[in-house]
Symmetry: C2
Subunit: 162 residues, 2 copies
DNA sequence: ATCGGAGTTCAATTTTTTTTGAACTCGATT
DNA sequence: AATCGAGTTCAAAAAAAATTGAACTCCGAT
């Protein structure tokens, strides 16, 4: 059963639902397909199961599984064939969001902060004092935004998780 | 001054910063450029100012302004030439996020909910009772996620705004 | 009522992102 | 030590998204 080559209606719909979901957060469709199928499968699935049931390439499946692993959205488990690796979905929204924040959001915030420093330095060289003050005021706003973004993250965790 | 054709260093850096920002939330670069330049300009800018200073096409500028207007991220104001429309940036993070949620997030949540109904209906036709129960359990989880996503939104508003 | 120019639209083009597939690695099997 | 096959890699192809630009609309001035 775990190895049949087509999706039933529930599976198809859940896979599509997950595609929509990952697109919202800017991840490619194949990620949603893989996660979706793992999510709605009773048995753990191997890479080749995903390839044949979703009709995607080995390359996509391999890369998709890799990303989902780094996000902590799936888990490796053992299955019937001892020399394959099988996967199942982690279902805690908390850990999905946590992984996403850690891997995709925090790096951006960090590089944003670095860029803000550069902007401030450039503004400091502005000679006309009114313009310089205007710039400093604007930069202050940007810095506040960055702080507020950071503030959201632990809050998210709290709502979803503990 | 408002009409010069190049960006100074502060302007360039702020524009780039905003590009990065909008990419995170999945909007095209041109949106970030336009918002960024309005954000860091002391004078309101017209469509043609944006075209010449950012080096983008009229089409892009027009479409970008339209989207930013629907998000409530910019405001129309009057400027020196009475027959042009000038714009300035709305700087309240609250209203930016509010507009984004209203225009880009809520519609997805709504269509997601509709799809969940379809999944539930499909699951109800599953004949094997263990599988059906498994599906129902999974669908329950998806429904809970959807609820939690909605829960976040007002919370966001509260942190950023009121 | 015609003209001029600001702004919009959308099909074609360009750019970016995603997916593919064939060559490869590596560990287990004979 | 040669083979098998699961999984990875990455350059090339395909698909998707953004941008352009030329034709258009609309309004105000002549």
């Amino acid at each position: 059963m775990a190895g049949r080559e087509t999706l039933n209606e529930v599976e198809r719909r859940v896979v599509e639902f997950c595609c929509d979901g990952v697109r919202i957060v800017g991840l490619p469709k194949s990620i949603g397909e893989i996660y979706g199928l793992l999510f709605i499968s009773r048995e753990p699935q191997s890479l080749d199961d995903l390839v044949s049931r979703l009709g995607i390439s080995k390359g996509s499946a391999s890369q998709g599984l890799k990303l989902l692993r780094t996000l902590g959205a799936i888990r490796q488990v053992s299955g019937e064939d001892s020399r394959r690796t099988y996967y199942e979905a982690d279902m805690q929204l908390k850990s999905l969001v946590g992984g996403f924040v850690r891997e995709q959001v925090r790096p951006h915030l960090a590089s944003g902060d670095a860029k803000l420093k550069g902007i401030a330095a450039a503004a400091a060289t502005e000679e006309e004092s009114e313009t310089r003050e205007f710039y400093e005021n604007r930069i202050f706003k940007l810095e506040r935004w960055s702080k507020q973004a950071r503030l959201i993250l632990p809050l998210l965790q709290r709502v979803l998780g503990g």
